[in-house]
Amino acid sequence: MSSKLVRKLALAVVLGTMPLASPALAEKVLRVAMTVADVPLTTGQPSQGTEGLRFMGGTVYDGLVNWDLSSADKAAALVPGLAESWTVDAADKTKWLFKLRRGVKFHDGSDFNADAVVWNFDKLLKRDAPQFDQAQSVQASQDDGGIASWAKIDDLTVEIRTKTPDSVLPYNLVNLFFSSPKRWEELGHDWNKVAFQPSGTGPWKVDKFVPHERVELVRNADYWNPKRIPKSDRLVLLPMPDPNTRVAALLSGQVDWIEAPPPDAIPRLKQSGMNIVTNVYPHVWPFQISLMDNSPFKDVRVRKAANLAIDRDGLVKLLGGLAIPAKGMVYPGHPWFGKPSFDIRYDPEEAKRLLAEAGYSEKNPVKIKFVIAPSGSGQMLPLPMSEFIKENFHDVGIELEFVVMDWEALRARRRAGAWAPENKGIDGVNNSWSFGDPDFALIKAAASYEPVPTGFNWGRYNDPKSDELARAAQTTFDPVEQTKILAELHSRIVDQAMWIWVVHDLGPRALSPKVKGFVPAQSWLQDLTPVEIQ
């Protein structure tokens, strides 16, 4: 055999083995295009709402309590996180004891223990603590507002006291994350530096952070829950606010996963072999309405008529099937749905009858004004949807006028309440809503003693029965019993037509056919640990 032939054969062997060898060596990278315009805060408490929590919360960090995101078939439930168990004191319902998980370490190798818990609560709530961080504190205030005090009992036990008996505390703790005190010390007590090298306890570790552009996470092989050690080696998160850009990035192979593809792009994505993944999750697209004296919605018949006037099936078609009609705050099948007697459906004749009964006619139509925004978090396609509903309302004798403003201005109007001077003459506000926890879903939305801004009762809904059930839900600590009360409360607010509920979004995401293992949980949050690229 000539030396030339030997060389050729050797080369052929090398080249022949290369394709076999490279996949084993190649890093499995999952690239996700988010809808947010910027990378959420990386230091512990993410900014950018629930999308921030989804991608920079439960990925890098854990709460004392976590969501179980492993099932697509049932609503996500609470499971132990950094706390293995918790109890509320039998005599004093404001006193909770949390037993911490043994052996958990931060990404920097330091121990997670009661000192770290206290340090983190100080970071968020103790303004004179050296580690107090205004940016994180603000983000957490939605969840830590009810906490009165916190203290270490021993290395693995922490006591948390609430301001009032509050059974919702475990839900709030899901969104309070724990950053490493050691990392903050190492980086000169500078949270801006920590942002580039954060250290949590979560299944992913931050490897690279480029402000406004990307954050790259790598697998935490030492994660305390072996079932949730990521299957991908690297997770690249890219802010991409423009929906068409996200679609183009997926179709051109620059990313493997996009959040919220626009409905009109779905056929093209499917045609290209992309998987469109949807599932119900705690989202509703409603009009929160004013029940002030000067609003027609003070009359429950008008509220019911408005709910019956909307052709939700038609609206779902407009949305390319990416939503389901709403029959209340939560969807049927959800543990809190209950048995409302008012069936929210499309029944224009019944709507007309109710309006006539309430004293309205063709010559004397109901005249209302809603605040809407052209876009916003969870707002779906607010302008065409609102126009569609306006037509539906017109058909039954409700003349709807819109006041259009940008999303943040609308949120400010919602925070101000229907009684605020700037909301004079406004009968409703289109602010999409999350019902992930009992407070958001029902208690603080329905209780008359929970007005905005600290509660979520925008329109002065005032119903003694709802108040009674809300109080009972707040002070019932047995989860099964609490679920029953919440179902009763939900039935009550549907029967009272507290809001105009329109549709539930199905949270579409488009995934490259290479993406395997994703389980779309019925939650705003999702678990990316079982996902891998094949």
């Binding site: 900014s47 983000q139 552009e213 606010p241 990035a249 051109s252 620059q254 201005a409 603080k444």
Partner: protein, 317 residues
Amino acid sequence: MLTYFLRRVLYTIPIAIGVSLVCFALIHLAPGDPLSAVMPEGASSETIASLRSFYGFDRPLAIQYLTWLTHVVTGDFGYSIMTRRAVLGEIGPAVFNSLMLGVAAVLIGFTVGLLLGLIAGYAAGSARDRVVTSLAVAGVSVPHYWLGMVLIVIFAVNLGVLPATGMGAGGSTNFAFDWESLKYLVLPAISLSVIPAGIIARTVRGTVAEVLKQDFIQTLYAKGLSPRRICLHVAKNAAPTVLAIIGLQLAQLLGGSILVETVFSWPGTGFLLNTAIFTRDLPVLQGTILVLAMFFVFINLIVDLIQSAFDPRIKRN
């Protein structure tokens, strides 16, 4: 020349103050709460009050403006409400990225526009002129973000020869001046260049056609100068007008484009402004607008000086 230069520099001071005042006022007069984006649902009145005080929004507007201005002149643009990072640190890389995109777009726009303008100007009234003028009108009229999307569909999605978004596999920090990185620049630069190309082509066409009608051109022909030499004279006479247009276009492009940078996820000043607008990040918004406005003023100053070097009459005026 020095006196003229100093006078022009002095003019920039009131312009800068005016720009800072307008940009501050416009942002603060816009409806909505500047802290709305960072305020969580259900924020208590204590949280709201402490946040207002932390960012100084509880003070009178005039005091807020003066405080901001005195800090800005010392190079302190404050901190982003959303990220708590220094605003100057946010603007710096964004300006560089937009600069890169702007220069690429100007080079394309200038070359194509000049070429088309000269062709049309020399053939004024002919079919060639009409074709070029139509192209220029199309260039000026086409929305560049739409063109960007079309280019993405053709070259990134269907042909797969160029990337659709971003600044490279590792982001802007890994951007290198090799093909692997530069290919990310191609589509956004072309999208941005069509408007200046159209404007420059029309301006050059008009100016060249005008100069060619003047008596001194006939004299040059009569003296037997070669067409190439005559073209140089034409170019010199057309230069002040064309330079003014190019200067304006350059300044606009260097300021980035909110739409094109958003469509291509190009992390420049346009993308930064877009993020800041949607999140009501006032310090970033104010800082970026001010820097861009000053950029505009600076580029105009440079163009004025170059123009006056070409045409001394401008100095006398």
